[in-house]
Assembly symmetry: C2
Homo-oligomer: 778 residues x 2
């Protein structure tokens, strides 16, 4: 079995490298410039990923789902998840159609290029698809994992991890494939445009693909996050705390909803989220590459490089997954080492391969960008380490939370918040360091836009291992569901123990995965904001009214393209005071000395708090509904607590589904509308301030929430493993409160913030022309 | 009695206005320019405040302290508080001496002017003095308030509120008096300097006064905050939750420490804090006024205006306090209305008076600044309203927390956090609006530095009512201690009820007071950061090395002062690209397009989280020590819980004192050292980014913490008043957990953040020359 698999993979890798070589030698199809033919690496790599994912699905489906009871439970959960997603997709469908119509109007008014609404729609579609397929695979794998755990831990790991790998490869495979296809289409569509214009148009159209992906992702994350945590909190409060029955007890009417939640939140939501992150880092880099290289009259290489780096990452991830294997002892350290080996191997392969990609495509003079990639990769690993340190029960931060559990709920909550706050130090310094390093490497004393491109490339570098990190992240919910299945189906305790061991490990790897997502989000958002600024400048200088003004005042000669003037002469900085004054009065001054920038920063820094408040309130409200319903069922269904009657799980599922759907709309819409409002009414400088303020505070709050949540969870697990008296003690009860507070932190509000900061930048970028026009008209 | 008082006040007000008139007519002593003689309003106003405060102290001390037991309890608390402050002042003394020595070295090296170390020392001294005297008055008033509550509610209000008024007037009185004296000294000392140079030197020396005040305030707030909350949390956890005995029960060994904590944290800490806020807004405005007016060749008026506005505020506050009176019904709404009447009346008087001050001093052409004052006053009132809305149990936010208490600790915590986060919206918008309005009013299409001066003036306007708002804020702890005294002395329940009614009201007014402090801190910090940027530019252009460079390259003619060139020609913006490039490469570019600015913003946004984490951990650690000690005493002292033995309160007091002293040092030092490190190693642009990032996120986090804490506290009170089953229910227990989590939020970490963001700016400002020199040497 293993040998067969390896054979297939190595065949794929061989195929991939041979094509790459052939293409590099100019034997490939297409472009005049052989360097550009290397782009074929991208679709080929992504197809390999999808084929391999398909193979894994086939292999998973061949496994037995166990007893009839197990199958039945799996089926109910599958149905619940599908019902939820179906409703969610109706809402998303309406949203996508309305947004495309708006984009269509802007196309008609000349603000946007023709393919934009289509790019938007496909982005949204594929983001949703990744979530949906991921959910299908996960819900089909949980009972099979439970069944495999009956035989051995390693068997359980293999099934659940395979399901995670499917998710990881599907996200990166679809991501690179979709972008490649769009690249080919646009390259053909704009074949007659002047080179600089062509590159810019391709880049800015592809950005709208990401707008679709990230708005769908935000809905999915928020909706799924509300669902999963409302169900979880609700089930825990009445079940574990009040009635004193164990987690996933079949008597608990919310147990099924809780398990459905893992799939719609932690799988479907996360799939859409990371698809968005991945695609986002690539298109943001493309946009910056277009700006940096077009100014030099260089070609499409800057756009193809991020795609090729990602394709390299796919292959490296596939190879890495083969090294994740566990022995029979359910020891966290051993399991963690297995997973780490895979990730490090992938990172190593990327470190080697990307050197050749940069050298072959951009040439020796841009080798500084290799340094940028390494900066991104390194920052990702540092963030991963830091996350593990702050959330694993093997280190003092999590243990200090457990210690404070001895003195009660309040001190456990305070300790967790303070660990979460403390844990923001290293990721911020890592991202700050990566930003400076990536910028400096790429800048090389030449120009600022190359430096910004370097920041984008660093984000791509950080996310290049996503195929495997996402796999290690998303097998957790499968293991969690397997544990639930084993409990509800009444399998022997060893099965649940093994599944729980996998789940516990999943907690730490999930936190690490979130760390990656957050770190890359900061870099990506930074890249997107820079792209927005470029877009604004371009638009201003292309606006006839402004160009007229410049010409009427003799600042530029008649017929002289304002844009090329900008590019060649660093035009803006050379404008005389009074023309710069026009910009100032029109609010295009981005200095911290401009009070509008400060006002934007203040509002931006507040926004993630407002957003988190809304999502947390939503969880609270939805959870309250579940609590009341579960209490009602315990009260009214006779014999339920004695195990003599069945709970009405369907009703619980239905209640959370409705609540989550309703609650996700306001926060998601706010994220889209706020940048537009600020841009139109307060001007571009306040808008850039808003974006950077939201980035800075959103980043910090997201790290704080993810790590506090993870640490509370593991502090509880640490106590359950026997510390401070173990299960059932006062300290244990207090630690459950901490865990419950952390639930919406780490699975609803925190991860949504990553998407939020990118979506806000994306909205600004896509609507840049409209925003600038409104500002100029004032 | 009342009539006599009023007579004295009106006599004072009459005296004040007559002097002002005489002075305005040029009959006063001193200056050639009659406008400048108006400055005499400032010392006269402040002396009136201090005299009136002295009269009130005399009146309070005439009241009886009640039974012997009451006197004894009051004495123990007084001793505990004094012992704590004594130790704290030893640490502060060492700090002040070391810092003065450092400043002295910088004076010798020519970075700073000669009076700087002395200004620093006096600032620190008076900040500490305000805390100390406030504590003395408060500890002498609590038993007297309890005694007065035996007769009537109004009697209790009169004593406790008088003590609050003493605190308020002492802070504003000392603030204005100290600054006036320094102004006279410096004005005389630099009488021979050229006008522009003189104004700038006076302003920048007075800023170091604030450096002393704010570093002492940070130590006092952090140390006092750790003390009060560790004692409170510790006493509550073992006493209320575990042993089930009421608050302030004499059997609780931490009850005395808890009451001492109210005095050293909520009184001494707050006194130092608000003295710092008040003085900070004045000196920041002076510094900006110097920059704005010196550029125009205008005189000292810009420096005297903030002092005169503050003096006006003092008189208005005194008048306002006479309208705070309560009937016999302990109704929150009535009490609140009484307090509001006083505040509104003061605000109205300021609104009228400041018009004449601006008109008489700066003349009709600068009447726009009157708009800036109004913007600040209005924003302060809006923030006050918003705070009340989010923290009073009369509105839905706090009630929603109480409602969530029905489902347990976790939901109460989540609800409180989410209310706190939501509550950041209005204050941020209010400050943003005030910033834009104050800038725009003052800017008047003329110049940016006038706009910045407007922002400073708005901060002064917001804090001008401090005399009375601080009074309404700081009588709370006195009432709290009175309630404690009544409980411990075994007085009839009605006494405790009356004192508790006063205390409950104090919760809401305290939150409002914190809102003012935070809002004004944001404006003040903004002003300080602007002043820092001015200082940097001034220093760069005065640096011989740079001036040489400019002259060597023929950019400025020989002998032409770079600074006046800057002022007259807006020099920097007119510099050619390559010279600007020098600035860029030396990291003086403040645009959001500069990655160093972004890096600074990221680190700055993280800093308040790091700081809060440290202070919260400190509370947790200190509280744990108390919990273990109280448990030990309950276990080891036989008959204690039965009321047959005395607890060892002194030991509990000693444990918290030591813990608080040790824990306050690291966070406070970090706040001082971080800006220096960032400035020296990452450059000025990263430093400005750091300051703005810390301002934005610190502001939001501070509001969140203050309001969440206040709302949790009042949600508990709401339940105790009978909602959701009232005292002793499951919901009540859960609400206590919320309150306990909120304690370090609202009384330790949150209020320290106000000082933090100002102190960081102040350190940068004072060490600007040193930082720039290091950056230029690189």
């Amino acid at each position: 079995m293993k040998r067969k698999l390896r054979g297939i993979v190595f065949a794929g890798v061989f195929l991939f490298t041979s094509i790459a070589f052939l293409v590099a030698l100019g034997a490939g199809p297409g472009e005049a410039d052989p360097k550009l033919n290397l782009i074929w690496i991208a679709p080929v790599g992504s197809i390999i990923a999808l084929l391999f994912a398909g193979y894994l699905v086939w292999r998973i489906m061949r496994q037995s789902e166990g007893t009839e009871r197990m199958q039945q439970i799996a089926k109910i959960i599958r149905q619940g998840a599908r019902a939820y997603l179906k409703r969610q997709y109706v809402v998303l469908g309406i949203f996508l159609i309305v947004m495309s119509a708006i984009l269509g109007v802007m196309v008609i008014n000349g603000y946007l290029a023709l393919p934009v609404p289509f790019a938007f729609l496909t982005g949204g579609f594929f983001s949703a698809l990744c979530g949906f397929v991921g959910m299908l695979v996960a819900t089909n794998s949980s009972a099979r994992t439970a069944h495999a755990c009956q035989t051995s831990l390693n068997g359980g790991l293999r099934v659940s991890f395979s399901s995670g790998v499917v998710m990881g490869l599907m996200v990166v495979g679809f991501g690179v494939l979709d972008l490649s296809i769009w690249y080919f289409i646009l390259n053909w569509l704009y074949r007659d445009l002047e080179a600089v214009e062509k590159i810019r148009t391709i880049a800015s159209t592809m950005v709208t693909f990401e707008l679709g992906a990230s708005s769908v992702a935000l809905f999915a994350r928020v909706g799924g996050g509300i669902y999963t945590k409302a169900a979880d909190v609700g089930a825990d409060i009445v079940g574990k705390v009040e009635a004193g029955i164990p987690e996933d007890d079949p008597r608990n009417p919310a147990a099924i909803a809780d398990n459905v939640g893992d799939n719609v939140g932690d799988v479907a939501g996360m799939g859409a989220d990371l698809y968005e992150s991945y695609v986002g880092s690539i298109v943001a880099t493309m946009a910056l590459g277009a700006a940096a290289f077009a100014a030099k009259g260089l070609g499409l290489e800057s756009i193809t490089v991020p795609l090729m780096l990602s394709a390299l990452g796919i292959v490296a991830s596939i190879v890495g997954t083969f090294f994740v294997r566990a022995g029979e002892k359910a020891d966290q350290a051993v399991l963690l080492r297995a997973i780490r080996t895979g990730i490090y191997l992938s990172a190593g392969l990327i470190a080697i391969g990307s050197f050749f990609i940069i050298r072959a495509t951009l040439g020796i003079e841009h080798l500084g960008l290799y340094g940028s990639i390494m900066a991104g990769l390194a920052a990702g690993l540092v963030i991963g380490y830091s996350t593990e340190f702050f959330t694993s029960q093997r280190y003092w931060p999590t243990r200090s939370i457990a210690e404070q559990a001895q003195t009660g709920e309040a001190t456990v909550v305070i300790a967790g918040l303070s660990v979460g706050m403390l844990s923001t130090l290293v990721p911020v310094l890592a991202v700050a360091g990566a930003t400076i390093a990536a910028y400096a490497f790429a800048y090389g004393f030449r120009d600022a836009s190359m430096g910004l491109y370097g920041i984008g490339v660093a984000a791509v570098g950080m996310l290049s291992t996503l195929g495997i990190t996402l796999a290690t992240d998303s097998y957790g919910p499968v293991a969690d569901n397997a544990a639930g299945n084993a409990e509800m189906a009444g399998l022997p305790p060893i099965v649940r123990e093994r599944a729980s061991a996998l789940d516990a490990l999943g907690n730490t790897t999930a936190a690490t995965g979130k760390g990656f997502a957050i770190g890359s989000a900061a870099l990506t958002a930074l890249a997107l904001i820079s792209a927005f600024k470029e877009e604004v400048l371009k638009f201003i200088l292309n606006t006839p009214r402004f160009a007229d003004f410049l010409q009427a005042n003799g600042i530029i000669p008649e017929g002289f393209s304002a844009m090329s003037a900008l590019q060649k002469l660093q035009f803006f900085e050379r404008l005389p005071q009074d023309v710069q004054g026009l910009f100032l009065s029109r609010n295009f001054n981005l200095s911290l000395e401009n009070p509008m920038v400060i006002v934007g920063l203040l509002i931006g820094a507040m926004f993630p708090f407002l957003f988190s408040s809304l999502t947390m309130r939503a969880v609270g409200r939805a959870a309250s509904k579940i609590v009341l319903e579960v209490r009602r069922q315990f009260r009214e269904i006779k014999g339920l607590l004695e195990g003599k009657a069945e709970p009405d799980s369907a009703r619980a599922v239905d209640i959370v589904t409705r609540a989550a759907q309703r609650e996700m709309i306001l926060p998601a819409l706010m994220a889209i509308i706020t940048p537009l409002l600020v841009g139109v009414f307060l001007g571009v400088s306040a808008l850039v301030g808003l974006l950077i303020g939201a980035l800075a505070s959103g980043f910090v709050v997201a790290v704080m929430m993810a790590n506090a949540g993870g640490a509370w969870d593991n502090a509880k697990k640490y106590i359950e493993e026997g510390a401070y008296g173990g299960k059932g003690t006062f300290a244990h009860k207090a630690s459950i409160t901490g865990d419950t507070v952390g639930d919406p932190f780490k699975d609803t509000s925190g991860p949504s913030l990553n998407i939020l900061i990118k979506l806000m930048s994306m909205v600004s970028l896509v609507f840049a022309a409209f925003i600038v026009a409104s500002a100029l008209l004032k």
